[in-house]
């Protein structure tokens, strides 16, 4: 067994208290939500905070709030709670992606905000949030701000969050009624990290496609297409410009490039309702 390094555990009851703890231990503190990535990283010494700020005792972060044209998922809401919420089912392709993160037992603990803030290039929620135009609502010592998800990922395990900032919620715009979407994940098994994952959103003839696990951050492209065949051609012309896969324990760069094509075809069949 590898022990966790020495830690101080904090359990604030309000957002203000959480921010003041994060500010007091500038850079030495990290937010603990579900902990399903963080504890693994602590054990591997991949992250080395000496203070953990558990946000599960803050009631306002544990809510899913529906607005007129968006939903705000609090940063302490678990993936299982999202999947159980009837209203979330219309937020596609996010709902589908959330159901494919890790395994069902992990999803009782893991959070959407944690999946995003961990900033793994393979995060399954990221491509879905990108094509939906989600925003990260953040609070810090100098007040609140909103970061578009397209500006949130800064590198492998790096985000635009300042050390004393806390994610309050993830704001996901309502999908237009006529929109179509899809999400696919390729891996050794469904619960393992993706070798390639991808999400798409089609509104009219505008198509957004986002890929994960093929570059240091999830990438997105946008094309215009009138039908499935045109979409595949255009996407496969644009995708190679943004995907820069590496070889690692799960797959070689060459295999990932191949999977980008396979994933694109499967994804767009789902979006356009083509037979597989």
């Amino acid at each position: 067994m590898i022990s966790l390094p020495p830690l101080s555990y904090h359990k604030p009851r309000t957002v203000e208290e959480a921010v003041s703890i994060l500010e007091r231990y500038q850079g030495e503190a990290r937010v603990l939500a579900g902990g399903t990535d963080l504890l693994v990283d602590l054990r591997a010494r991949a992250r080395t905070p000496s203070h953990l700020v558990d946000i599960k005792g803050i009631p306002e972060l544990k809510r899913i709030v529906y607005l007129d044209n968006a939903v705000e998922v609090g940063s302490a809401v678990t993936l299982a709670e999202i999947l159980k919420d009837e209203g979330m089912k219309s937020y596609q392709p996010l709902y589908k992606a959330v159901g494919m993160i890790a395994d069902r037992i992990i999803r009782f603990r893991a959070t959407l905000a944690g999946n995003v803030c961990n900033a793994s290039p393979a995060a399954d929620s990221a491509p879905a949030l990108l094509v939906m135009g989600a925003e990260i609502k953040v609070v810090g010592p100098r007040g609140k701000r909103t970061i578009p998800i397209s500006e949130f990922f800064k590198g492998v395990k790096k985000t635009a969050l300042e050390p004393s900032e806390l994610v309050e919620s993830i704001r996901v715009p309502r999908t237009p009624d006529e929109a179509r979407s899809g999400f696919v994940k390729f891996g050794r098994s469904s619960e393992d990290l993706a070798i390639v994952n991808a999400a798409a959103m089609l509104v009219g003839n505008k198509l957004w496609v986002s890929y994960g696990s093929v570059a240091p951050t999830p990438m997105m492209i946008q094309v215009e297409a009138e039908n499935y065949e045109e979409a595949v051609l255009r996407v496969l012309k644009e995708a190679p410009k943004v995907v820069k896969p590496i070889s690692d324990v799960r797959a070689s760069a060459g295999y990932r490039l191949h999977l980008v094509k396979v994933a694109t075809a499967k994804l767009l069949k789902e979006v356009y309702g083509e037979e597989t």
């Binding site: 399903t36 504890l39 992990i106």
Partner: protein, 147 residues
């Protein structure tokens, strides 16, 4: 303070101690297995407030005030039925993973008394068994639901 199998237990823990360490080493509950320490094998699964969680990924501090159930705490009709069908269907071989599978089966059937085969497969997805090949376990859980 944590409530383990219905009994309140007050103990001092280190801030970097996991729930798994406390259950096994301080409370001597050895049915909760320690294996991968990274949330992959699922054999340290316990029920926290009725939901299955991997105790190697939870700090003991986080469980303060919570109710925890290990396989020793299951003794109602449903759990007895699950234990019986696990034996009948050959869902137990070396037994190392069995407590985790029983707990997950129990929490699934409590929530969904009539699961499809897909529901069962999805529920046990986060648990590893190196002996059975899983089919016997899925069969046992479905049989327990039908009996």
């Amino acid at each position: 303070m944590i409530k383990v199998n219905g009994e309140e237990r007050k103990l001092e823990v280190e801030e970097n101690e996991t729930l798994l360490q406390v259950l096994r080493d301080k409370l001597r509950i050895r049915s909760v297995k320690a294996a991968c320490w990274r949330g992959e094998c699922g054999l340290c699964t316990v029920l926290l407030e009725g939901k299955p969680v991997k105790s190697c990924l939870i700090l003991a501090c986080e469980a303060d005030g919570c109710s925890i159930v290990t396989v020793e705490g299951l003794n109602d009709n449903l759990s007895e039925r699950i234990k019986k069908t696990f034996v009948e269907e050959g869902a137990i071989q070396c037994g190392f993973c069995t407590p985790a599978f029983i707990l997950v089966a129990y929490s699934l059937l409590r929530e969904n008394p009539n699961p499809s085969r897909e529901d069962v497969v999805e529920a046990i997805n986060g648990l590893i068994c190196r002996c059975t090949g899983y089919h016997q376990i899925v069969n046992a859980i479905i049989k327990a639901a039908r009996e």
